[in-house]
Symmetry: C2
Subunit: 210 residues, 2 copies
């Protein structure tokens, strides 16, 4: 199995955490996003979106989209589960994950910020855009789990929600977002950081880290 990724890509980071939690090994293949390596013809044959992550299985099939990859992993390697068993709880965990993976991250990723620069926005406007998207999204996420006992986002064990949260908080700090208003999110992050599967997936521990 080969995980095509980039050390600082939030979506690749999610898949690294999930693989670690499941105890599944994948060889890391780095594509340097800032050098545009995700647009190379060889990679576009694997993922026509030109995005990381992509997971190539031993039979040559390549899976794309971090949430789809993680759900595949959860279905084919059920222990430990990354989603609750109750359909209602599954929906809540997925909604939290999608609040990040749909409504925050793609609106502030490298591709979007580069386009804003091309349209003539100044660097402080571009940073402000990212901070606006992230702050607005995290505020809703904080409310979504405000009444959850924790310490993780949804209960005593990590789920898909924590897998999405940790990389997004890293991104938030990069763009100078004040995280003090989000104590419940920070509590889940602390719980996650104490788990080796999360710690080992951090960008600075990847072979392609700069």
């Amino acid at each position: 199995m080969q995980l095509h990724g980039y050390y600082r890509s939030s979506a690749s980071w999610r898949v690294r955490i999930a693989l670690n939690l499941k105890g599944v090994h994948a060889n890391s293949v780095a594509h340097h996003l800032r050098k545009g390596e995700q647009h190379a013809a060889d990679f576009l044959r694997l993922n026509p979106q030109g995005l990381v992550p992509a997971l190539t299985l031993d039979d040559g099939t390549t899976l794309t989209q971090s949430l789809a990859i993680i759900e595949w992993l959860d279905e084919t390697h059920p222990r430990p589960p990354l989603l609750p068993t109750d359909p209602l709880r599954r929906a809540q965990v997925r909604a939290f994950a999608q609040a990040i993976a749909c409504d925050i991250h793609p609106v502030q990723n490298l591709k979007v910020l580069s386009r804003l620069r091309q349209l003539g926005l100044a660097e402080d406007q571009v940073t402000g855009w990212a901070a606006w998207v992230i702050g607005d999204g995290l505020k809703a996420c904080e409310t979504l789990i405000a009444n959850e006992s924790g310490p993780f986002c949804f209960g005593a064990d990590p789920t898909l929600a924590d897998i999405c949260l940790v990389p997004q908080l890293f991104n938030a700090r990069r763009f100078g977002v004040d995280l003090a208003p989000y104590p419940r999110l920070l509590r889940a992050e602390r719980a996650a950081q104490a788990v080796a599967a999360f710690a080992d997936a951090a960008p600075e521990r990847q072979p392609d880290a700069e």
Copy 2:
């Protein structure tokens, strides 16, 4: 069951299709997005993201995020299935759906386009932004299903992929995107439009249509 939505919201439209396919009735509660009704305090208590759709169940629980709602519906009302049974095929259908629901739609929704206007972009630049996001995304989607026999995105029956595709193509036309380069997507759309569950979910057939 109450579906909080807006006739022209792509994500609400997805849930309408899924409910119709399952034969599940939900009372429609319209929130006029262009008048900002999704930011009302009463609605934010249901969905802190201030986005439609939101599905309020008979026990008062509210589910958010269209893909999470549709997966909940598929898990609690299994017939007809909206995802294949094979994990690998499920991953492919989910990845296609997420290519739209994560990487296209949230980057060109009302909120993002309004922000671009606030930052001083001219109207043709805003429309150009939407057309860029949609065209780029649909090009990848076309490739993802190029070798699928169809007529739907993935096989002989509609799945979550078609549910996401149909509203996105409607959006594409609104922003003047040329769809001629995407014959496989258009073929899936034609197959879907022949199904009453899809046709009945169209914006113009909703009570709040203008």
